[in-house]
Point group: C2
Chain length 303, copies 2
């Protein structure tokens, strides 16, 4: 339910024309009204979205004036049985966010030059969808199959100099494999290509994620170059280390040690034993593509 | 680098005392100054964090007054070679966010009753870490091994009534397996337990994620009860469907069909062929735990 709501919220925000259908017209009439209330767009779930950049507020509108406008509109929306109100607030009109908070609005999210506030008007607990909860960190285990060595680094900024796989946070919109290849190149100077996804770690209340959740993914990469030219800002050391040694040593993190054992097993029994392979498929609702990871299916699955 | 920065930002925000060490004292002196500038805390990366709830601003501070205060402080911080400024702005003082935007500040993130703004003062492009980029959606494939059937639903709100696995978005701080079990129970009335992780899909610019990225994870669950009592608000139909039939039918989504084939393969060859198993391990920097998913290692790994 909430997913669909997000979809409609996004549509009404980004594809204005799409919302001028049967939902919009009556809503805009009642929402704008004749008494100077705010004009909103109504979604199919009974929520109203008001973009303060579009409703013709004076640039110097005061908190008290906006508070009165909002109060009028809220009374109407409640009378109409609306279940939620979304406010898109340009940063230059931020004082309106303070005014809205006196009516119970809170921040849903904010980025760049816009904040989005929300207020639940329906019965019971809010059923409004939340915002993004996870950051994605990706590490690349670059394995040289010719000698069973893997590329590892020691972080300059960590107190304990434990061997780990090079990696870092995904940029917005960046695919998992692309992050692994980019971070390995930036930290070690080694060029590589994505082979598979090996391991996923989920961690909550993460200090490194502003208290949000962290998803840490380790990929298997194949080296395209072998000469190390590591980033001295980030790394203290960088080496091609034998997998057997990395699997044994105490001078590493638990997850690195675990993945070293996994890679050693793959080296001996075949990486198909440990890999999740990736395939790119078209998304249903758009021309966009998504990447799907799972265990490889046999060429002709028995079915 | 950015990850560490986030760590320090979090620490300085949540564990104030930790920041009163050698970084804080000189910074607070220079940052507060004698001319009524703002008092900030300096992190090890040369960034300053100012919490407007803690610097004793008058509740009715005007945008113009705050703008002057900020201008003075910015001049000092630039002179001191600070590379970034973080502003924590309570929603009631939102007008200060508008004032800050005239000095180049933008929203980094916002939630509940606080917004966090940031400004990069260093050379070149901003190296400030971003905020959470992904929402996590989880579906549960509940497989009855006794008859090779799986629990599927048809969404009431989708136009095309395709069979899919019950699922939904993770709540903040909720583990992947817990989301799958909860959503299956809420949508179908069937109780189940987590067995493994089967598939991961990554999708960007997702309409259902307010334009952010979406990670959709399918888990394999074992049924604990079998009677269906599905949520008529969310679902149009709910059935135990044969995996072979689900793998064949066109009346489903590409990813559901793919996972049906995967499950059929697992049913015939053993689920160990398709599973990523989960283990809970202690985090290094705290008493917290994280969940790690990867292919099962043989009882005694050759190493």
């Amino acid at each position: 339910h909430s997913l669909l709501w997000r979809f409609f919220f996004f549509i009404s925000g980004c594809l204005f024309s799409l919302t001028r259908g049967r939902f919009f017209s009556p809503a805009s009439r009642t929402a704008s009204g004749s008494c100077g209330g705010l004009t909103g767009k109504v979604d199919r779930f009974g929520g109203v979205t008001v973009n303060l950049a579009e409703v013709g507020l004076p640039a110097d509108v005061s908190e008290s004036l906006f508070s009165r406008l909002l109060q009028e509109s809220l009374s109407q929306w409640k009378a109409e049985g609306k279940v939620a109100v979304w406010l898109r607030v340009p940063i230059s009109l931020s004082r309106c966010a303070a005014a809205a908070s006196t009516h119970g609005f809170t921040f849903h999210h904010a980025a760049h030059d816009q904040a989005v506030l929300a207020l639940w008007l329906g019965d019971g607990e809010s059923r409004l969808p939340g915002f993004a909860t996870h950051q994605i960190g990706v590490a690349g285990a670059v394995v040289d199959e010719s000698n069973g060595k893997v590329l590892v680094v020691q972080d300059r900024n960590k107190t304990k100099n434990a061997w780990k796989f090079p990696g870092g946070l995904s940029d917005p919109g960046e695919n998992i494999g692309a992050t692994a290849v980019r971070e390995v190149l930036e930290e070690t100077g080694v060029r590589s290509e994505f082979r598979s996804l090996l391991s996923i770690r989920q961690q909550h209340n993460h200090p490194g994620a502003f208290g949000m959740s962290d998803m840490y993914i380790i990929c298997r990469l194949r080296p395209l170059t072998y000469d190390i030219n590591f980033c001295t800002q980030e790394c203290l050391r960088c080496e091609w280390l034998g997998l057997a040694e990395l699997a044994k040593t105490d001078n590493t993190t638990p997850i690195t040690s675990r993945v070293a054992k996994l890679l050693l097993h793959g080296l001996e029994q075949g990486f198909d034993k440990i890999d999740l392979t990736m395939e790119e498929l078209p998304a249903v609702y758009s021309g966009m593509f998504y990447q799907l990871y799972h265990r490889q299916l046999p060429p002709t699955p028995k079915s």
